[in-house]
C-alpha cells in the first residue's frame, strides 16, 4: 500500500474507508456491524475528545463525575446508503477527504503516531531507530518529500527508503515472550545528529535549479523595486496629482500626518522585506516521526546511505 513518497494514492472513498477502519481499530474504538461502505463505531472517551471539539462538555462531565453514554459514530463512504442500513438515533456523516471529521481523524493519527515502539518476532532482536523526515523546498511555491531513515544502533550505520519495506514487515506492539533483546546504549544526540547530517548531504547532492530560478526571480524583483524608488528620488512624496473627489471614499482623504509618518524609505523596506519573505529560496527539514524498532537485522532491500 505504501509506495514511494512521490506516488501516494489519492483519497478515494475506498482509501478513506480503509484508513478510518484501521484508525478506529488502532485506537481501541469498538466497531459495530454495519453495511458495506459504512462504519459504525463506539468511541472510548479519549478518542471522543480528539474527534469532536467540545472541551467544555468534557470539563463538565468530569467535574460532575457523570457517566455519559458512549458516542456512536456512523460514517458513510458512499452516496447511496439505504435508509434501512442506518442505525436508529444515529446521524449519518458522509466522509470526504475535506470533511471536518476526517481532518480530526488525521490530526489524531498524526499526533498519536509521532512515536512508536515495535518488535519483530525473532529469537534475538536489537534496537534500530526509524526517523521520517519531511524535506521541503520553498520559495513562493513549494515541493515536499518524505525521507525515511533507519539507524542500526549496533554500529550507527544508516539506511534509507526504509518505510516502504518496514510496512511489509510483521511488527508487533508488545514484546513477543520468546524474544530476547540485545541491550545497546542509545544516544539520541548522536542519532539525531547522524540523521541531520545525512539529510544535509542528500539535499546538497540534489538538483537545485528551483533555487537558482527563485533567486534570479527575487533579484529581478528587488532590482525593479530599487529602480522604481531610485527614480522617485527627486520627486515629492505624493506623485499623484490631486483628484477631484468623486465618491464618498474619495472625500475621506488621508491627513498629511498619516502619509508622511509612513515614509518612502519605510515603504521601500516593507516591499523589499515582503519580496524576500515570499521568494527567498529555503530548504526546511522537519523530523516528523521517531520509531524504536527491535529487529533481527537490517531488512533486505533497504539501501545503505553512502556517506563518503
Amino acid at each position: 500500500m505504501i509506495t514511494k513518497a512521490s506516488e501516494a494514492t489519492p483519497w478515494s472513498d475506498e482509501v478513506l474507508e480503509d484508513y478510518c477502519k484501521r484508525y478506529l481499530q488502532a485506537v481501541g474504538a469498538r466497531l459495530l456491524p454495519s453495511a458495506r461502505g459504512t462504519l459504525c463505531t463506539a468511541l472510548p472517551r479519549d478518542v471522543d475528545k480528539e474527534l469532536t471539539d467540545r472541551p467544555f462538555y468534557w470539563m463538565w462531565v468530569e467535574t460532575m463525575h457523570e457517566t455519559p453514554p458512549e458516542t456512536v459514530l456512523f460514517l458513510t463512504f458512499r452516496d447511496d446508503v439505504e435508509a434501512s442500513a442506518i442505525p436508529e438515533a444515529c446521524k449519518i456523516e458522509r466522509i470526504h477527504a475535506g470533511s471536518y471529521r476526517m481532518q480530526r481523524i488525521v490530526a489524531s493519527a498524526r499526533q498519536r503516531g509521532a512515536f512508536a515502539v515495535a518488535y519483530q518476532r525473532a529469537p534475538i532482536v536489537s534496537p534500530f531507530v526509524l526517523m521520517n523526515v519531511k524535506v521541503s523546498y520553498l520559495s513562493d511555491r513549494r515541493l515536499d518529500r518524505l525521507e525515511s531513515y533507519l539507524v542500526d544502533l549496533r554500529d550507527y550505520r544508516i539506511y534509507h527508503e526504509a518505510m516502504s519495506v518496514l510496512t511489509e514487515t510483521n511488527l508487533s506492539d508488545e514484546r513477543p515472550l520468546e524474544t530476547q533483546i540485545l541491550a545497546v546504549p542509545m544516544d539520541f544526540d548522536q542519532i539525531f545528529s547522524l540523521v541531520k547530517k545525512t539529510v544535509q548531504r542528500t539535499v546538497a547532492l540534489d538538483d537545485h535549479t528551483w533555487s537558482r530560478d527563485a533567486s534570479q526571480r527575487l533579484n529581478r524583483e528587488l532590482r525593479t523595486l530599487d529602480d522604481y524608488y531610485a527614480s522617485l528620488e527627486n520627486t515629492t512624496r505624493n506623485p499623484h496629482s490631486s483628484e477631484t473627489p468623486e465618491t464618498p471614499e474619495d472625500i475621506d482623504p488621508v491627513p498629511e500626518t498619516l502619509v508622511t509618518s509612513f515614509s518612502r524609505a519605510a515603504e521601500r523596506e516593507l516591499r523589499r522585506a515582503e519580496l524576500v519573505w515570499r521568494g527567498e529560496p529555503r530548504v526546511e527539514v522537519r523530523p516528523l516521526q521517531v520509531g524504536l524498532l527491535y529487529l533481527a537485522d537490517v531488512p533486505e532491500m533497504i539501501p545503505e546511505v553512502n556517506l563518503d
Binding site: 512508536a116 511488527l171 465618491t247
Partner: protein
Amino acid sequence: MYTYLEQDDLRRQLAERNDVPAGRWSLFVLAYEAELRSLCSACDQLSCLAVLPSLVPFAHQVQTARRVINELHGRALLADEVGLGKTIEAGLILKEYMVRGLVKKALILVPASLVLQWTRELNEKFGISAFAQRNEWSWSTYDVLVASMDTTKREPHRTAVLSQQYDLVIVDEAHKLKNSKTRNWQIVNQLRKKYLLLVTATPVQNDMKELFTLINLLRPGQLGNATTFASDHVKSKRSPKNPVALRSALAQVMVRNRRHQSDVDFTERIVEPISLQLSGPESQLYESVTRFIKDEYVRRKEKHRSILALITLQREICSSSYAAMGTLETMMKDKRLSTEEVIRLRELYHQAEAVPSYTKVNKVIELVSEINDKVILFTEYRATQDFLLYMLQQSGIKAVLYRGGYKRGKKDWMKDLFEHKAQVLIATEAGGEGINLQFCNQVINFDLPWNPMRIEQRIGRVHRLGQTRPVYIRNFATVGTIEEHMVTLLQDKIRMFELVIGELDVILGPRAFEQDLMATFMESQDSLEVRARLSAMARRVTVRADESAGSHVING
C-alpha cells in the same frame, strides 16, 4: 544558494527522556500515510479540489487560480468581467495556498455589506474556518479573518491590523483603491503581506491613472513610476498610447476573463422599453423644472459655478417628483439666492407636492402584478425608493428595501426576506454591490444612472453564473423627457443592455460622460438636436469600441 532550516520540535519532545514513547506501530503507519498524501508535488494542478468535492468550478476559474499561483506568484489583480465568479477564484487561490501550507494567516477586506456573505462562502464552499471581524481582539484571535474596509481603516483597528503580518490579503471591490490619497489605499499599502489579491470587475473606471495606482500596490515599478507611466502609456485620460506594451506589462500582474471567451453559458437578456405618457400635472412639473434648470445652467456656467446640483435635479425629476422635492428644498436654503429665485423654487416645490397621481408608480404596480414573480426594482434615489415602498405597500405588494448604510447583517436579512417573503426588492446603487440574486430574473429600471457601467452592475446582480432563466429588463422611458433620450441612447445606440460593457470601460468615463450628456440636454434647442448630438456621442463611443484590438488594452 538557499537558506537551510532544521526544525527541532521532535528532538525537544524527546529531550527529557532517553527513550521513545510507546506508541502503536499501526498508528505510526497511519500518520505516515496521511503525511504522504498531504505533500506538495511538482504538479501545477490545484490539489485543493480533491478536498472540495461539492465545489465544481468553471474551467476559467481553475485556470485563473493556477495562473495566479504558478505564473503570477500570488500577487495579482483579478479583473474578470462582472458575473464570472471572481469570489470563487479568490477562494480557490486561498484554499490552494492553505492546503499547500504556504498560507496560514489571511485577511479578506470587503465592503461592509459583504462581510457575512464572504465569511459564509469561505466556510461553506471552501471549508475554510473564516471569521467575521467583530472587535479589537478579532485581529489577533483568528487566522482567517473577513473584515470591512471601512472599519479596518479606522482606529483602534488600524493600529491593531498593522501590527499583524499576513500571508495573504484579499481586497474585494478593489476599485475603491483607485486613489492613493485615500485611507483605503494607505492601509492596504502599509499592511505587511506575502501574497495579495485585488478583486474588481472595473479596474479602470474613469482614468488610466487608476490602473497604475492599483498595480502599484501589487508590484511597484511594474508600470514605471507615475511620471514615466503617463509619458509612456497614456495618450489621453482613457486611451493608452501603446496598448501592446501595456498589455504585456499587465500580463505579469493581472488576469481578466471575458464573458464571451469563457465556457460559461449565459442566458439571454431580453430588453423592453416601457414608454410612458406623463399625466398633465406631471408633464407641467417636468417642463417647469427643466426650464428652471436650463436658466440656472446658463447662469452658473457664466459664473463658473458647479452644475452638479443641476444634473442631480434633472435626473431626479425624471425619477420622481418626491426625489426632486428634496433637492429643491436644499436649493432653497442657499444663501446666495435672490428673492425671485427662492420664490421660483418654492413654486416648483408646491407644484411637485400637488401632483395627484404618479404614472410611473402605477405602471410598476401593474407590471409587478402581471409578472407575478420576483422583481428587482432599481432606482438611483433613496427618496424615490421610500416613495415606491410606500406606494407598493398601499397596493398590497410585499416589498423590501436594499441600500447603502445598512449594517451588514441587515443587508443579508433583506436579501433573505426578498428570497422567501417579499415579491419586490427596491434597490439603490449600493444594492448593486456584490450580492447575488440569481433566483430572480426580472429587472425594472425605474430610472437610469447616466453611467453605463453602473447599469451593467445592476444587471449583473441577476445575469450571472447560476442564473438559469433568461433575464428580462424593462426600462421606463417617459415620453418627451430626457429619460426617453437616455433609454434610446443606451438601448439602441450603444446596445448597452445586450452587450456587456467590457470594450467600453476604458473609454467611457462616468464623470465626463455625464457632463457631455448634460451639455447636450441643456444646450440643444429642440428634440431633434438632442437626438443628433446623442447619436454622435454614441457613434464616437462605439467606433472607439470597435477600433482595432489595440484599444482593448485591459481586455487583451
